[in-house]
Symmetry: C2
Subunit: 110 residues, 2 copies
Amino acid sequence: MEIKSKLWIEVEGEPVFGRGRRFLLQAIDKYGSINQAAKEINISYRKAWGYINAMEKRLGIRLVERQAGGKNGGGATLTKEAREFLKKYEMMEEGIREIVDARFKEIFGE
Amino acid sequence: MEIKSKLWIEVEGEPVFGRGRRFLLQAIDKYGSINQAAKEINISYRKAWGYINAMEKRLGIRLVERQAGGKNGGGATLTKEAREFLKKYEMMEEGIREIVDARFKEIFGE
DNA sequence: CCTGCGTTATGCAAAAAAGTCATAACGGTG
DNA sequence: CACCGTTATGACTTTTTTGCATAACGCAGG
């Protein structure tokens, strides 16, 4: 028996950011490619693409600069706004899981 | 833009308890009827029934004593074990949301 | 005795969501 | 100008969720 927790941000009732999307953006930053990033976190390119579109639409911010074709086939990079958002989210998420785990053990024993 | 959090307990990777199920059990306790309880929290009887079955199966504990037919058509009551579990969960959940909200405001401003 | 009532109990279909596949377009590079 | 790895998207498939319909139960009142 174990405790799970989830944290995400919504805009008008629709989810726009959570742990999965966080990992996606971080991986894009690392590889410079949506395709590679998707592989890294084990989701399809299609899904990653959908995530990015939905995030941008709902936040009204451009998060990923994309180019199809060109050097190395193209690629993608995070915008300044994306990095700022990511940073804030990381700060917020940090420590929450530990708090939850501690409380769970305290009450359910073991 | 708002923060959302979710907390649930899993057994063997399968969810067995969370906020929704908590409200369901509380409502059953209040009304003495799965049917009424389901209406109260705006889910179908079918779904409530499925929740209860899954919880009992995965926890290996009988949570709800049921009777079809009889006085008032029958009804349902929580077992002692269900009340104990519910109490522990309430204690655990309490305060978590406040912590999350506070941190969100602190970081994303408003 | 037997009909009505509100309940629990489930199978099954419908709808929604998530995931997969195929294909097009792009634009440097050799 | 063909090739390569990328982004972009529609269409299809699979899985999950939700909801509908119906049966069975057992007391109460006629």
